[in-house]
Symmetry: C2
Subunit: 282 residues, 2 copies
């Protein structure tokens, strides 16, 4: 199993891609890092910081000689990037991504014609931030964080193990999940939570904002996240997100009914169950 990479190609050198490049460099996991971006100018900061050795705006060139390719683009762009990169990948290339939704990108890879030695395994490092861009990147972004790796009936177990080992070498602990469990799970634990936080800010817009204290500030930190990225995620994970919203609404509707009816014991018991669950995460 490979744990050192001759040529790592990072497609999209923003918060996540920049952090991967810097972490791989700092941990001496590869010889050369190639950064692929929309323009060479957009890659200048990463070149200047020494995070990447080579900058290119040509996807085919950028992935051609790599033995590890990581796509770090917005989720909506991933299926197209998988298809565009596929014919240019060299033999023995391990190919992964970092998208927050796995259905589309995994399906795109499965739809590509088989090529000996070339394998795609979906990844999702649970290590974002409300910030974005290379300027927000951090070589320690993945340390101590969870990285999810998806597997399907068609995925080569050896490739899954190599991708898992890659995330572990960046300091992450890894869980392997099915694509469906991933997309449903993150819909509830991440996508709904972002939508709800944006909604709390929208609900508070106006005079009440001047009363904001630490509780509000912490609870809505993720509502400072880039809306284009999150709209893209919501679009890609629409069915699971709609289910998650429905579950959340049913809970709030039930609690609102208890508040209206003065059923305080029922409410307190439900809040207590949530509190117990939350305390275990701390």
């Amino acid at each position: 199993m490979r744990t050192h990479w001759r040529r790592l190609s990072v497609v999209g050198v923003g918060l996540i891609g920049g952090s991967i490049a810097r972490a791989a460099r700092a941990r001496r996991l590869c010889d050369t890092v190639v950064g692929v971006g929309r323009s060479r100018a957009s890659l200048e900061p990463a070149l200047a910081a020494g995070a990447i050795d080579v900058a290119t705006d040509d996807l085919a060139d950028g992935v051609r000689d790599a033995d590890l390719v990581v796509l770090c683009a917005p989720v909506g762009a991933l299926p197209g990037l998988v298809r565009a990169a596929w014919p240019h990948l060299g033999p023995e290339t391990l190919f992964t991504d970092t998208g927050s939704v796995k259905r589309g990108v995994v399906a795109a890879a499965h739809g590509c014609s088989a090529r000996p030695g070339v394998t795609f395994v979906g990844s999702h490092p649970m290590a974002g931030s409300e910030r974005s861009g290379f300027g927000a990147s951090d070589p320690e972004l993945f340390a101590g964080r969870l990285a999810l790796v998806t597997e399907t009936a068609a995925t080569d177990p050896g490739a899954v193990a190599e991708v898992a080992a890659f995330w572990e070498s960046l300091g992450s602990h890894v869980r392997t999940v099915s694509v469906d469990a991933h997309d449903r799970g993150v819909a509830v634990i991440s996508h709904l939570v972002h939508l709800a936080a944006y909604g709390l800010v929208a609900a508070a817009a106006g005079d009440a904002l001047s009363l904001a204290a630490r509780g509000f500030v912490d609870t809505t930190r993720i509502a400072a996240s880039a809306e284009a990225l999150w709209t893209d995620i919501f679009r890609e994970n629409r069915p699971a997100l709609l289910e998650a919203i429905d579950g959340y609404r049913r809970i709030l509707d039930c609690w609102e009914g208890w508040i209206r009816a003065g059923r305080w014991e029922a409410l307190e018991a439900a809040l207590g169950r949530a509190r117990e669950i939350r305390e275990k995460l701390a």
Copy 2:
């Protein structure tokens, strides 16, 4: 205007009351601190820590000679405590509280028969924590935090200024608001946010929890708060909370409709407005 207190009486020596006692002591704002609790045993930790000089479970005794009395009990208990303490307050006593809802406690004080020199002014330090009890108290809890002071047409402006000066002497910055503006404002900025956070935990209960990352942990920190305290707050602020829930639901329903209909530009614009508002708070 008084800025030093001969005898400070703190009724309820938990997170908030304990922090007030310790802050007043650390900043040399008073000569003696009296702690009033349900039992003397419950006050032992505060006595042992030197946060209070005198411990009593007798409210009348505890407030009798004080020139500043601060009620730090759960909001549902505040109206009864105001009425019970009132006849025992000495002349020239400044009387305030720290409750998260102001309607009930202010009405209780207004309902008490006028006594020369005795004035009640409602306060609400926006400086809680998901923790509770004296063990969680912190003499710096109020430093740099907002303290809200309520005024009504009947409130003596000199007393409002003294209460404001008291919070400033603990390091807070003070805003004076009407009772109605307070209760509606905190319903949105604090009470709804707590209910929503508990709801997100309840929605995620199950397999998805094992995927929780920093976003979920931060957004739901306040769902580790004591459910009895928050049920009490929700009960006391029911009308304003129901309005806040209604406003939040209308936003989420609208966004859900856009997600269902694929109106991504409208959603992105709305999330962008929330993001801009949130960024200004950072």
